[in-house]
């Protein structure tokens, strides 16, 4: 497996293969554009500014969660607890805002504590998997049970609403631009900086061949823990966006999103075995899932068939994405 990546640099520039190697998310981008076109074909209004804003504000949480998952996948790990981290952060900020009255400053304080909660979850996962060397799939499943328990302790039943100031800001438009696009811009800047940091290269090196990374002097354990910390951090940010969209607290809200986040990462052209991938791809992957869902609706699929058609479409997209990106890598 290690020799897969070493052949990467030998491809000629300019060829289609070269482009795919430098930008592994291109196939996903093609699928995204095709889906946008199909959406526009079946429902012209779906390409309006308002509809696209709606799409982004609904799927921003999944996009951030896909980013979170990407950082652990870079290092060859996986995190099946991201959905429960979302739930936990969601109820933590809802309960805090409810207790503190929901004015501007307390909302910010609650969000900060929410982000720290996500970070703490990431540290726990990192110590369990990189530090104590448990197997990532089963260990993060166990921590997800624990985090869900914590979420149920904080808020036993769903329903507490978010203060108006919170969800109104999320849905507000400032200077003609919806608030969610400011978040997108801020996230893009942060991701751009992260992509330039040494940590990203180090995580990819660990995912490509952990032993080789270790022997060349990289602190493998620490790097993997940092991957899980980033994962917890972005899961918390995803929770903040989700709360802006749903405007209420629910201790089980994130459960279904874990597997979607993995699917988004794969759709985006990252290898689950680690060592190859881009965050941009995962963002596109999350949008693909959103667009498939809306397309299935616009085509006029009967409601009971929608889940099946969505499932089939996502499976096909996953297969196509893997075949294309592997063609590029080998």
């Amino acid at each position: 497996m290690p020799q897969i990546a070493s052949s990467t640099s030998t491809a000629r520039e300019g060829t289609l293969k070269g482009v795919l190697q430098r930008f592994p998310f291109v196939p996903a981008l093609v699928i995204l554009v095709a889906l946008l076109a199909l959406n526009g074909l079946f429902e012209p209004r779906s390409l309006s500014f308002g509809s696209l804003t709606g799409l982004v504000s609904t799927y921003l949480a999944l996009m951030l969660l896909a980013v979170a998952q990407t950082y652990v996948v870079f290092a060859g790990d996986i995190d099946l607890s991201v959905g429960s981290i979302i739930s936990l952060v969601n109820v933590v900020i809802i309960v805090l805002m409810d207790k503190w009255g929901g004015s501007g400053l307390t909302v910010i304080a609650a969000c900060l504590i929410g982000v720290l909660t996500g970070l703490a979850c990431g540290i726990v996962n990192g110590i369990m998997i990189a530090g104590l060397r448990l197997q990532a799939i089963v260990a993060t499943f166990a921590t997800s049970i624990f985090f869900t328990g914590l979420a149920l302790y904080v808020l036993p039943v769903a329903g507490t609403p978010a203060p108006e100031a919170y969800w109104e800001t999320y849905g507000e438009t400032y200077f003609g631009i919806p608030f969610v696009f400011y978040i997108v811009a801020a996230v893009a800047i942060v991701l751009g900086l992260l992509a330039r940091m040494r940590l990203t290269t180090q995580m990819l090196a660990v995912g490509d061949d952990a032993m080789a990374a270790f022997q060349s002097g990289l602190p493998v354990t620490l790097i993997r823990i940092k991957g899980y910390m980033l994962c917890g951090l972005f899961s918390a940010l995803a929770a903040l966006c989700l709360t802006g969209d749903t405007a209420s607290g629910d201790p089980l809200v994130g459960g279904k999103m874990t597997l979607y986040s993995v699917a988004a990462v794969v759709l985006g052209g990252s290898a689950l075995s680690g060592g190859a991938g881009t965050v941009t791809g995962s963002l596109v992957g999350a949008l693909i899932i959103g667009l498939i869902n809306s397309l299935v609706f616009f085509v006029g699929t009967p409601s009971e068939w929608q889940n099946l058609v969505q499932g089939l479409a996502i499976l096909l997209a996953l297969m196509a994405g893997i075949l294309v990106s592997r063609g590029a890598r080998s």
């Binding site: 996986i78 099946l80 369990m128 104590l132 060397r133 448990l134 197997q135 799939i137 089963v138 260990a139 499943f141 166990a142 921590t143 997800s144 049970i145 624990f146 985090f147 869900t148 328990g149 914590l150 979420a151 149920l152 302790y153 036993p156 952990a210 032993m211 270790f214 022997q215 493998v220 597997l259 993995v262 699917a263 794969v266 689950l272 075995s273 009971e304 068939w305 929608q306 889940n307 099946l308 058609v309 969505q310 499932g311 089939l312 996502i314 499976l315 996953l318 297969m319 893997i322 075949l323 592997r326």
Partner: protein
């Protein structure tokens, strides 16, 4: 000569300790400790009728884990996330085919196993021919199956278990034990025979520990891997069939609760997710251990939140006993 004995002396400090470190032994000791603990907490917990009830629940979990065990043993990140969907689907298919009549049991068994094996065939073909990673393929398949379940539930009655099936699962059948426990024992013997006495079994370990050498030695790697996923689907279907007998009628996503726990049972039974070593006897003990643990937590009078936190923490502690990766040394 003298160095050889010195080396082996270092490697095996003492036979007793080696014996105590075997996963099966660890699991059995833990089961005994948990049963004693449960009995102390609430007298009657470890009574014969109660233990029998635990074993019935464990046998369904154990049958799902049998297929999961095979897929994991076969290596190359083998895992089957679609088992949850197959269990639910098989229960619905079986319920509709037999429709409450004893005469329909045999066709129902055949139909549900055929459905499970067919889904396993799709999984296996995607994984071997298209070389989709098992996690992605079975995750996509899970999405398809969940959609299919929505369609079926809308168009079909849920179906009824035949009286003979219900009594097979819940009532004493032979020597005071219900039929399902005999079935589980039979599956345990079948798995032991398959893994230790057949060419197919040896080949599973061969492709699980080193696919490349197995291939060069003439093992039909792809055929075997497809076979493993078909067996996994078939075992999940048998479990769904038994679950129908346990609950009387099939409903919604009964199978989802078996998806990740079946993997945990395999890991607690001493089969690492990397595959290539381990056996089903350990997995059986792992399934019982998991069910006893869950049962103790329902006996203790704590909130759902506390229960989940204790469950998650206990799983993590159990995993520290076994299933840890090797440390990196330069």
């Amino acid at each position: 000569m003298s160095t050889e004995t010195a080396v082996s002396a270092i490697k095996t400090p003492s036979r007793a300790i080696e014996f105590l470190k075997r996963p099966l032994v660890v699991a059995i000791i833990l089961i005994a400790v948990l049963l004693a603990f449960g009995e102390a907490l609430s007298p009657g917990f470890a009574s014969p009728t109660q233990i029998l009830r635990l074993l019935i629940v464990a046998s369904v979990m154990g049958i799902v884990a049998a297929g999961q065990n095979l897929v994991i043993l076969g290596g190359r990140e083998g895992i089957d996330l679609s088992v949850g969907g197959i269990v639910s689907l098989a229960a619905i298919v079986a319920g509709n085919v037999m429709n409450g009549a004893d005469g329909g049991i045999l066709p129902a068994v055949l139909a549900s196993i055929a459905v499970g094996a067919l889904i396993g065939l799709f999984n296996g073909l995607g994984i071997t021919l298209l070389r989709i990673p098992p996690l992605v393929m079975t995750l996509g398949m899970l999405g398809v199956l969940q959609g299919l379940l929505v369609v079926i539930r809308n168009g079909m009655p849920s179906g009824q278990a035949a009286p003979a099936l219900a009594s097979f699962v819940t009532q004493p059948f032979l020597l005071g034990l219900p039929g399902i426990i005999w079935l589980w024992i039979a599956i345990g013997l079948f798995m032991a025979f398959l893994l230790k006495r057949t060419v197919f079994g040896y080949r599973i370990y061969a492709i699980g520990s080193n696919e490349q050498t197995a291939y060069m030695a003439g093992v039909p790697v792809k055929t075997i891997r497809v076979g493993l996923f078909m067996l996994s689907g078939a075992f999940a279907a048998v479990a769904g069939f038994c679950l129908l007998g346990y609950s009387g009628s099939s409903f919604a996503n009964v199978g989802e609760q078996y998806m990740l726990p079946s993997i945990i049972a395999v890991v607690l039974g001493g089969t690492p997710l990397a595959g290539g070593k381990g056996d089903y006897t350990g997995t059986m003990a792992g399934a019982v251990l998991l069910v006893v643990l869950q049962s103790i937590l329902t006996t203790i009078h704590i909130d759902e939140s506390g229960r989940q936190m204790v469950f998650g923490t206990t799983l993590l502690v159990l995993m520290l006993f076994y299933g840890r990766g090797r440390a990196m040394r330069g």
